[in-house]
Amino acid sequence: MTPDADTVQLLTPEGELVSHPEYHAEVSADGLRELYRDMAWSRRMDGEGVTLQRQGELGLWPSLLGQEAAQIGAGRALRDDDYVFPSYRDHAIALCRDVDPLHLLRMFRGVSNGGWDPAEKNFHLYTLVIGSQTLHATGYAMGTAKDGAEGAVLTCFGDGATSQGDVSEAFNFAAVYNAPVVFFCQNNQWAISEGNERQTRVPLYQRARGFGFPGIRVDGNDVLACLAVTKQALERARAGEGPTLIEAFTYRMGAHTTSDDPIRYRDSEELEHWRAKDPLARVRALLESRGWADEAFFADVDTRCEERASRLRTDLRETAEPPPGNIFAHVYADGHALVDEERADFAAYQASFTDREAK
């Protein structure tokens, strides 16, 4: 699928600004450098995830390579009091929310099934069941509206997820209750090996209209456009004007996850076509053409990324294994007799080994 003329773009792949009747790029030297730093760190952190998986430190890693602009654009559009319900590939948005990337790595290492406090950073746990979180986001947004609170809710999902009933149910609930939620679909063209043509017969952003709210397609490799479009959608939500669907038209450059082999289902031409639209390269081109960044700046970004990646690697390797008794931790808030009984049996069984070793 190709984006149509309605696609919002503010920065071309060549690094040139274009004007749009409705959306405007926020360009200052500092702002643009920050966006570049964010994307560079996301890419580096993500690459570290892939490497660590290859080294056997992680069981799996879903790479965001190619989706940095979509995620940083959406992530930097958020206000502190907004709440995010992510999918499982939204590492860059997690970074924007100041979630320690160690949490993300630990989840894919198998230390936890989530493990962070969602309320601390207004960033919910990753959701692995495709599309489920869009309903949680909608319910949360319904609650936000009831509370008379100002924040909006952003929820992320893929193009494949739009085929799930839950996503359609979420669209409908959000519309019916005018919930302050922004549906952020990263259409990275592939749902593992299934392309868009296996998910939909109409451009995804057009679906929103059938539910009674606006849908917008944005160039998902253009961080300025993603930022502007998401900001406006969040403002609409906060102003009580209800949900918006954003389709960030982008591309997953890597494998679906580290266990996937994309060579079996997609060709290198497609990859090259999208490589030319790289989200970082176009911001770099703009920074250079404006004289807002020089070689030293980019070298500094790289050095800092390396330092952070190396610290992350060390921290991950030093992560303690969870104690076996954790199986029984937090199953219920109010406790459960069966869990208590099994915990005691398990402890006694474990202790029987220690006793034998001691002898």
Binding site: P118, G165, D166, E169, F173, V331
Partner: protein
């Protein structure tokens, strides 16, 4: 005076009303629960008194109802969800099992999901397909969920209050054929704990263990058996998960015989779990194998056949005879 005589459905209604009065965060969600008051009228009048912001008529989408209830709970609300009929919970089963049950543990206890899912369940009312099922084992098997079922109006009132107060997700199974049965409800007396079994009738020869709609059948069976000089104890389990095995053990150590009765299919049902554990705990006390009476391994039959399918007085007494014959 706080004692009134109410049908079970009305006791639930009073319970929901009290919970909503006490806590503005309690919300009701479901299909037709607003102006109609629910197809069984359990939410009757609540829409009028609390408004559509707290008694929410939802789109016809069970996954949507439970999924958004999760979101509302994350935001600090205490949603009480009505699934219109037992057979329609399955579109929401995904949200219940994969999300609702696990999220507390995934967040290392940092988030709580006080969601109650009310399901009118079980047969005996001559309903059409999908309106008479007993899915308790499917929920009890899932860690993170609690599963309870009252058998009388007093328990209906108090167990609902306790389920709403619980910080865990509770599957609240309402025995629909008992909705119109009346009983005394003392709204002033402190209740038994939500998960404690209670002796509904004392006896010394054999224990009948049941919950929800089958408690009355067992009480009737015990009355019939008494006429023949047999003393049956009836244990109302009230909670399927957690299950009060201590109470079952105490009763079995006294009577030395156990028959478990439920409407759900026997195969892999809650009776199997009880039988296994009680065999382990009471091996030297038992005079007979633990027996089970329940539904067959068949889809719930058409209404004209449900009396064959459901355990009635005769099948319960037959199992009692078999147990006593050992």
């Amino acid at each position: 005076m706080t004692v009134t005589t109410l049908p079970l459905a009305k006791a639930l209604n009073e319970s929901l009303r009290k919970a909503m009065e006490d806590d503005p965060k309690v919300l009701l969600m479901g299909e037709d629960i607003g102006r109609l008051g629910g197809v069984f009228r359990v939410t009757d009048g609540l829409h009028k008194d609390f408004g559509e912001g707290r008694v929410i008529d939802t789109p016809l989408a069970e996954s949507g109802i439970v999924g958004t209830a999760i979101g509302l709970a994350l935001r600090g609300y205490r949603p009480v969800v009505e699934i219109q009929f037992d057979g329609f919970v399955f579109p929401a089963y995904d949200q219940i099992v994969t999300q609702l049950a696990k999220m507390h543990a995934r967040a290392l206890g940092k988030i709580k999901l006080p969601v109650v899912i009310r399901i009118p369940y079980g047969g005996g009312i001559g309903a059409v397909e999908h309106h008479s099922e007993s899915p308790e084992a499917l929920f009890a098997h899932v860690a993170g969920l609690k599963v309870v079922s009252p058998s009388n109006p007093s328990d209906a009132y108090w167990m609902m209050r306790q389920a709403i107060a619980s910080d865990d997700p509770v599957i609240f199974l309402e025995p629909k054929r008992r909705y119109w049965d009346k009983g005394e409800v003392d709204t002033g007396t402190a209740p038994a704990s939500l998960h404690a079994a209670q002796v509904a009738r004392e006896g010394s020869d054999l224990t009948l263990a049941a919950y929800g709609p089958m408690v009355k059948v067992c009480l009737d069976a015990a009355a019939a058996a008494a006429a023949e000089g047999r003393s049956l104890e009836v244990l109302d389990l009230r909670s399927v998960s957690p299950l009060d095995f201590d109470a079952v053990q105490t009763s079995v150590q006294k009577t030395r015989r156990l028959v478990i009765v439920h409407e759900a299919p026997v195969f892999f049902g809650s009776g199997a779990e009880i039988a296994a554990r009680i065999t382990e705990r009471c091996f030297y006390h038992l005079e007979a194998p633990v027996l089970r009476v329940g539904g067959y391994h068949s889809p719930y039959p058409p209404a004209r056949l449900e009396q064959e399918y459901l355990p009635g007085l005769d099948r319960v007494l037959d199992a009692v005879d078999r147990s006593l014959a050992y």
